[in-house]
Every structure is written in C-alpha cells, then in structure tokens.
Symmetry: C4
Subunit: 193 residues, 4 copies
C-alpha cells in the first residue's frame, strides 16, 4: 500500500488545524488599534502554534518521503499523532486567552509532549515495518533532537507552575531547534535520487 493517501489525509487535517486556530482571533468590537491590543497574547500563541504545526508538517513530509510502504499499524500511529495535533488549537486558545498563566501553559506543554511522543511512536512503527537498515532508520539515527525535545517538555511542564515565563521560553527554544528542517533525512535521501 502506497503512502500517498496517508499524506493527503494528514495534509488535510494539519491544514484545517492550522486554519481553525485563526478562528480564536475573534474580530473585536472597536474600530481602532487599541481594540486589537487585548488580542496580542492570542496572536502570539497563534504564531507559536503555527510554527509548531509547520514543523510537524515539514518533518512528517520528510519522514514519509523516506517511507516506502505502509500498513494498518502505520495508519493508526499516524492518526494518533493527528489526534494530539488536533488538540493544539484548544490548548493555544486557552493559553492565549489567559495571558500565558500557569495551568494553561502546563496544558500546552502536555499537548506538545504527547504530540512529540506520538511522532516518535509513528517513527518507530515505520522503522519497525521497514527494518533497521532502512533509509529512515539511518536518517533518524539516535534521534538526539527528538529526545532532547521530550526532555525539555518534561522540564517545562512542571516549571510552568513556578516560572511560566521560562516554560514559554523553552517552548520557543524547541521550536527554534526544529525550524531547521530535518537535514539528516534530506541528506540520506539525496544520494538515492
């Protein structure tokens, strides 16, 4: 079974998630720039989540480029990832409307953590299907960046009850770390094409 329909469906879901988030930016009553001011935290959390979803889409794209065949297990591991990504608009909205306070900041981190675990799970499922010598297995290697992200989320979530600013900073840090697309896979693929 080829991966093209899996890609199309994932593209669809991620595209809708990204665009639904913008509905949290509710059109204000006033007609001057001051009335936009209260929307700033919602806007900032939108930008952060947009970047995160962009990263997931990019890495997902790269991962499936290196995937030859899929089966039922891969389909469900992929749906599991999409489930956690689908909760990002809710977590984003709650965090933005409460000006980055403790509990919403922690929940946002939990959703990011669960999405990251689901991504790792999807990666493992694909590699298990294709064998340890496969293109993807070589490209991912020990997955330092992936493991580091999990570690940072694990620190940021409890920290948000003490210094929620630092937790926000850590979320931004992970995003910056991944903004550079997964060159490991791009490099591994290059010689084969």
């Amino acid at each position: 079974m080829g991966s093209s329909r899996l890609e199309a469906f994932s593209d669809g879901v991620i595209a809708i998630i990204i665009t639904i988030m913008v509905l949290e930016l509710k059109v204000p009553q006033g007609a001057d720039f001051q009335s936009l001011w209260p929307l700033l935290p919602v806007f900032l959390s939108y930008v952060l989540s947009f970047v995160y979803l962009g990263i997931y889409w990019n890495n997902h794209h790269h991962m499936l480029q290196a995937t030859e065949r899929i089966d039922g297990r891969v389909l469900w591991a992929n749906l599991h990832l999409l489930f956690w990504l689908s909760l990002i608009p809710f977590a984003t909205g709650w965090m933005g409307e409460n000006h980055f306070t403790a509990a919403p900041t922690a929940l946002y981190g939990v959703v990011l953590l669960m999405a990251a675990l689901a991504y790792v799970g999807l990666q493992h499922t694909i590699i298990a299907r294709q064998g340890e010598g496969s293109l993807l297995a070589q490209a991912v290697g020990r997955d330092l960046k992936g493991n580091l992200s999990l570690l940072i989320y694990l620190i940021a979530v409890p920290l948000s009850f003490f210094h929620n600013g630092i937790s926000q900073g850590l979320y931004v840090l992970v995003a910056l770390m991944w903004l550079i697309p997964d060159r490991r896979i791009e490099k591994a693929i290059q010689p084969n094409r």
Copy 2:
C-alpha cells in the same frame, strides 16, 4: 473513471469532520484545571468519535485500494456515507454536553447505525460494479464483523433509554472490534502486489 479523486474528496470531508468536532471543545473561562473538568464528557465523546472516524477512514482506504473502477452509483453511495458521517460532530456534541443521557446516547447510536448501513451500501455498490469474483468481494466475504456491528447498534439504541451506560459500552466495544484494520482486504491484496 479512476478512484483517486473520490479518495481525495472523501479524505477532505473526513479530515474536516474530525477537525470540526474539536470546535465543540470550547475554551473555558477559568484559568485553572478545575475549569477543564466540565469539559471531560465532551472530551471523552470527542475521543470516541475520533476513533470511529479513524476506523471509517481506514476501512474506506482499504476498500478503495481493492476497487478498480467507479461510476456514478459509487459516487452517490460514497456521498451517502459522507452525509451520515457529517452528522457525527452534531451527535457527539449533543451527547457530550448532556453527559451521555438517554436521548443523545440513542441519537448517537442511530447516526452510527445509519453510517454503518451507508458503508455496507457502498460496499455492495462497488461489488455489484466489479462482479462477485472481484478482489473486494473475496476480501469482504460474508462480512461477519460488519453484520455484528449493525446488530450491536440495533441493541444499543433502544437500550440507551434503560441503561445508557451499557449502550456507551457497546459503542466502545464496536470501536475496539474495528480498531484492528481490515486484515481481510490487506491479505487478499497482498498476493496481487
């Protein structure tokens, strides 16, 4: 006429249905975890419906893999299935917001039943088009799992007025029964590829 555009359109509709359901999870006013508590039934019904839509997408994917050609009848049988699936967000929201009481639980079952009947109808339409000796006809066989699901829905709907907990349990049971993707088709396809 090939089936790729039918797949793409169905993917789009199912992706949007899944993501629209998450809009029922309305961002709460409070900024603490207690304010998330009332959302729990809405969240649980979201998880159940997400799994159901995932099952439909997976099985639809497998079915169309085994489908060689489509015509106008197949297009409409497919739209009929999408119609009932499109009512799942409404039924999910009504059930979640009323904490799984009798009438919403029954309606949820009716929508699941109609979607299942529409799926069986689509299957019959495709097989009728391709002949009884086709790949899909062999893969589906007597469709025990499909018929059992219909039977369970038929029991669960009236039961929800007496013990709505049992009806919920039956809906979960059917979902678990299908979570294993349709290996029958996967097996039937395998040797041909």
Copy 3:
C-alpha cells in the same frame, strides 16, 4: 497545464462548504428529542443543500474528466463557480432558520441560479478552449437539462413571494433531475478509454 491541481482545489473547497453547513445545526440546550424538533427545518435545508453540492461535485468531476487542458480563463471561471457555491451555507442557514419563508426562499433560489450560471460559464470556457469538436462539447450537446434548470430557477425565485411551498418543490425537482449523474459525458468518454 494539467487539471489535477484544479480538481484538488475544487474538491477541497466543496468538501469544506459541505461540512461547514453542518455547523448551522447548533447543539440544542435540552437533552430530549423534543429539543431537536426546532432544528427540523435547518436539517431539511441541510439535506437539500448537501444533495445540491453533491450534484455539483459529481458533474464537476465528470466535466474535468472530459477536459484535457486548462488555462487562466478556466481557473477563474472555476473560482467564479466556487464563489457562488460558497454562499450556499449562508443561504441554507437563513432559509432553515426562518422556516422556508418568502425572502430566504427567494435568496436560496438566486444563489442556486447564480451557481448554475457560473457552471454553464465554466463549461463554455472549457469548450471554447478545446474546440467545438471536443469530447466535452459532444457530451454536453445542447445541454437541455442545464437550460431547463435555469428556467425552473427563474420561475421559482419570484414565485417564492406568492407560494413559497411551490418554489421549494421546484428546487427539489431540479435536484432530483440531476441526481442521475451526467451519463451523457460518461457515455462519450467510455469508447475513448
């Protein structure tokens, strides 16, 4: 320029329009079946519009099957069709919430009329691009069904201010007339494939 991306984009827009209409079915406050009763007109207008959008998707699908090459004019004629289709959820919601009274029934007919004109316009643009001897030109022929639909809409719109029930009946009639997919094109394509 091939037509695959035009199809994909149109599929996306139509899929979203269909699914957005279901958001007009707002989850009622009560938990019994009586509280669903006031939603009946909204539901019925949803069913009618779902069928109409299904018809457009089906015919659009058939038309592009018979289309070999597209250009900028075709892209814009297609966007023009999508524009009028995008107003169907609004017209549907207004008609459903006002229990099929005069003005909303007339507006619904106007939107259907404009969408039908845009469809005819798209057809002309494609045929003009491909020449009168093309597959599509032969398949469409004198387009009796298309012209009859336009005529019925033209009668139904003013009539809705006198007998809105008849206008509704005429909208249902046109839908039934088209429910049979465009066999003309299917037939014209068959021998070539």
Copy 4:
C-alpha cells in the same frame, strides 16, 4: 523532493481560508431582505478577499508549475506566505464589520503587504534554488507588477487615515491588475511543453 505535496497542502490551507471567511457572513435574525442590508459591507469585503485569495492561488499554481525541485527553505517560505494569508479572514471581518473605517482599512493593507512580501520571498527562494537561468527566473523577469503592487500597498496603508475610500480603491486596483493571470509564466512554459 517533488512539489506535489507542497501544492496539496497549500491548496488545502487556501481552500479553508476562503471558506472560513464566509463564516463572518452571520445568518441575520430577520426574514426579510432589509435584514440583509447591514451585511452588505461584510459581503463586499468578502468578495474583495475572495478575489485576492483566488489571485494568490492562481499565481502560486503558476509559480509551482515552473518549479522543478523544492527543499526545506522553500517549504518554510511557503508556510510564511500561508501564515499571512491565514490572517486575511480576520482583517476582512474587522474591515467589513466596521464599514471600511480608517484603522481596519489600514490593517487590511498591512496584511496584504505582508502577504505580497512573503510571496516575493517565496519567489526569490525558489529562484535561488534553481539558478538565475531557470524557467521561473525568466518568467518573472524584473517583476514589474509585483513591485508596483508593493508600492501601491505602501501608499494605501497610511492614506487610509486620511481618505480611506482611496485606499479601498487602491486595493481594488491591485486586484484588477492581477486578475489577468500571470501570462509571463504561462508564455515561458508553453514552448517547453
């Protein structure tokens, strides 16, 4: 890496943005045509934004037709464009609900300006990847129309605080200027196909 999935994802996002805008057209309470009257500015701003998104989709389509290979930089430049386009529904709704007053008109222009800059950025990124002698580089040339658009936006934004009607006129002017699809690229492609 081929560009088909980038196209599919961009199609999905643009299709959703276009359709989400229509949600700003809220179904009015009254059942007569007078109750539609207050929606006129929202409707007009919807039409303008629909045309703008159609232009972006058309030009994006043409640009990627002339693009042979993409990499991570192109993916991010594309996401950057989609980010600004995703803010169009918000800017449209704010402008429409405030009857084209100064600040919303200015913000609308800023979003258009940023989207235009992001489009130019994407164009540069693709050309940088493919070399100055590439098909796209030749087709774009000195990009007079692109630069003129940027200049007009830069004039229209501050002007909206003095004569917001002129700013609106300038936005319409740019749209009309682009309504003619990018024949430069179409011409440059033609001989190669």
